[in-house]
Amino acid sequence: MALLQISEPGQSAAPHQHRLAAGIDLGTTNSLIATVRSGIAKTLPDIEGHHLLPSIVHYAKDAAPQVGYTAKAQANVDPLNTIASVKRLMGRGLKDVKTTGTRLPYNFIENEGQGMPMIRTIVGDRSPVQISADIINTLKQRAEETLGGELTGVVITVPAYFDDAQRQATKDAATLTGLNVLRLLNEPTAAAVAYGLDKGAEGVHAIYDLGGGTFDISILRLQRGVFEVMATAGDSALGGDDFDRAIAQWIMQQAQIADDAEHSHIRELLDVARTAKETLTTQDTAPLEIRLEDGTVWQGELSREQLNELIDPLIQKTIIPCRRTLRDAGLTSDDINEVVMVGGSTRMPRVRQKIGEFFKRTPHVDIDPDKVVAIGAAIQADILAGNKPDDDMLLLDVIPLSLGIETMGGLVEKIIPRNTTIPVARGQDFTTFKDGQTAMAIHVVQGERELVMDCRSLAHFELRSIPPMVAGAARIRVTYQVDADGLLNVAAKEETSGVHSQITVKPSYGLQDSEIERMLKESLEHAQDDVAARALREQQVEADRVINALRAAIKADGHLLLKHPEFLEINAALNDLLKVEQGDDARAIKKAIERVDEVTQEFAARRMDASIRQAMKGHRIDEFTEK
């Protein structure tokens, strides 16, 4: 049993215990985990000193999955059970995967009734979410071993241009490992945090983030600790992988290798292509050597000029979103103070040159482009975990793609346009098309195009039991709500009649909640944990939050904002919660929490209003003194 701690007389225990929190950059090619220790955010290495964890998972019979370098070593030997670049499959359907270009060397299984494809491996069919969870789990273990404790929460980064399905899939993957996700953070915003805090930068910044498989451009305004995203754009299927493929295709032409070469052979070709690309970052030419299927060896050379010719069209593809973000932000390239390069692919001299030309200034590359996102995420995680209560950093992010609804004729009516600051809630009224219509099909889509077929379908659901009325008489309010993670909730409600029919859906392209629960159970069983114990712990943690928050609130504002009977009622509910909190009845704790919630609802609303008035008052003093 652990020894109980007793503090020195006259001193209370540490007023604020440091909570272990981390930032995770789940990349297409490499993943990282970082944390803030002694005020400095750093990425954590594995026992061999590697900071990067290759995002590759190898499955073998009767063994735990291998992740990282050990898996990478299996890529050519056992290609069908070695999954790389799984980020490209997150929240995507098989059709999307096929249209993203070149074939991926795996055995895909169409998933019945659901969009996300499964990959057939020796240990069974695995979804991209599960494979990503294996990567996150490795990072989680690394952090917990290094830090010597359980992580209380993580911030996971996603490409800014990820749509709702891709974001949800990423969050699901983290949930599968049992981690508490404090926030999904956009990668360029994370980079801006790391960079901005490091350099004390102010002004308008363009963050150009070209990774292994995704591209983002974000324009941010940095002002006194506020990071305000003005516009973002990108391509969630464009990155260094595509450069490798372009080079590999050129080699295939040169060496006269047939298009239908074997999986392992294509893997090898891609490796050669990648090595050549990396060599050309510092050299003018790169030697090529390929073992052909007939056993002979083909030798060649790739020059920097040839490479530039191959990749220029891909770089050009990134310029278009750059132009669009400037437009959306209402700016020209002259308004940009700094350009920051993020992502491994920005190591290529040609990328730096072309982007420098477009923005008319030399891009910054001073923070390691591989680590900067994880570092920014760690800084945000540290703040969200409550380790820096006085920090005034604030991130105001946007949704990257418009959210809409299908209307008559397969057209899209936009409900929330792209680049709207989140969180946001917006409603629109619709009506029935036929007399006596009692149900309405609601189709939620994401994208910029006018036709439903050209947009991303996020969810289909039906609002039923609308009372029969003449066409056009019903008033159905559809509300879209996007939270601070960029995740969508949709609610529909018939408002004319007394009978309210209502439905709320969370579009989940990847997994159903029940499925996550099942998989979580399985993974926990694997870790020999107990589901009931976990549920109890969750309730205890929440009870703790409620108690601490309420005590602090009463201490700060109780005398101002609570009438005496209200105070007594709240106090009684709080005492009831305190009585059950340490017990082992999860349901009793939950009930007590709900009771506290109920009696403090008004108090919480008053406090928030008071904090707004306080913020405004502080401001008026500012204005006064400035004059």
């Binding site: 409550g386 991130l395 600051t421 939270d483 929440e542 403090t600 919480a604 707004i612 913020a615 401001h619």
Partner: protein, 173 residues
Amino acid sequence: MKTEMSLNHFEIFELPISFDINKDTLAQRYRDIQRAVHPDKYANAPDRERRLAMQKTAQINEAFQTLKNPLTRARYLLQLQGIDENDAMMDSEFLMTQMELREELADIKQKRQPIEALNAFLNRTEKQMQSLTDKLSQQFAQQNWQAARETVSQFQFFTRLHEEALRLEEELI
């Protein structure tokens, strides 16, 4: 006690109800309030408070977006007066001009130098929108709601036209 939920968008930022607003003051106050209510400030709070923070922030965002943009600000002012801007009758001369402008936009693709032609078109549209903004400022100052309603409808036409021109720009580049 009047709760913040029932405040109108101008009251939230303690600004006078007017079409002419100080954008810097608005932006500054928006950021100050965000610092107090943003969900990131409640990451460790109980569930219910986190939800409340999200709702409140969404409301503040909505108010800010509405007031920031002259067209949505004008529509909101009309709404506060109980005027439905959709009822406005469009002057047929204005509609004819709009049709001509749309034809002109559709023809730009076939031009020898479409990008230059489009830029000129965009500049003209933006100028029109600026002069409509000036017009609204006068009409609201004179409390001439009916005239403002018509200008808002015209503004709406130009905004759509401008959006279409931008879509064409994306196609051309």
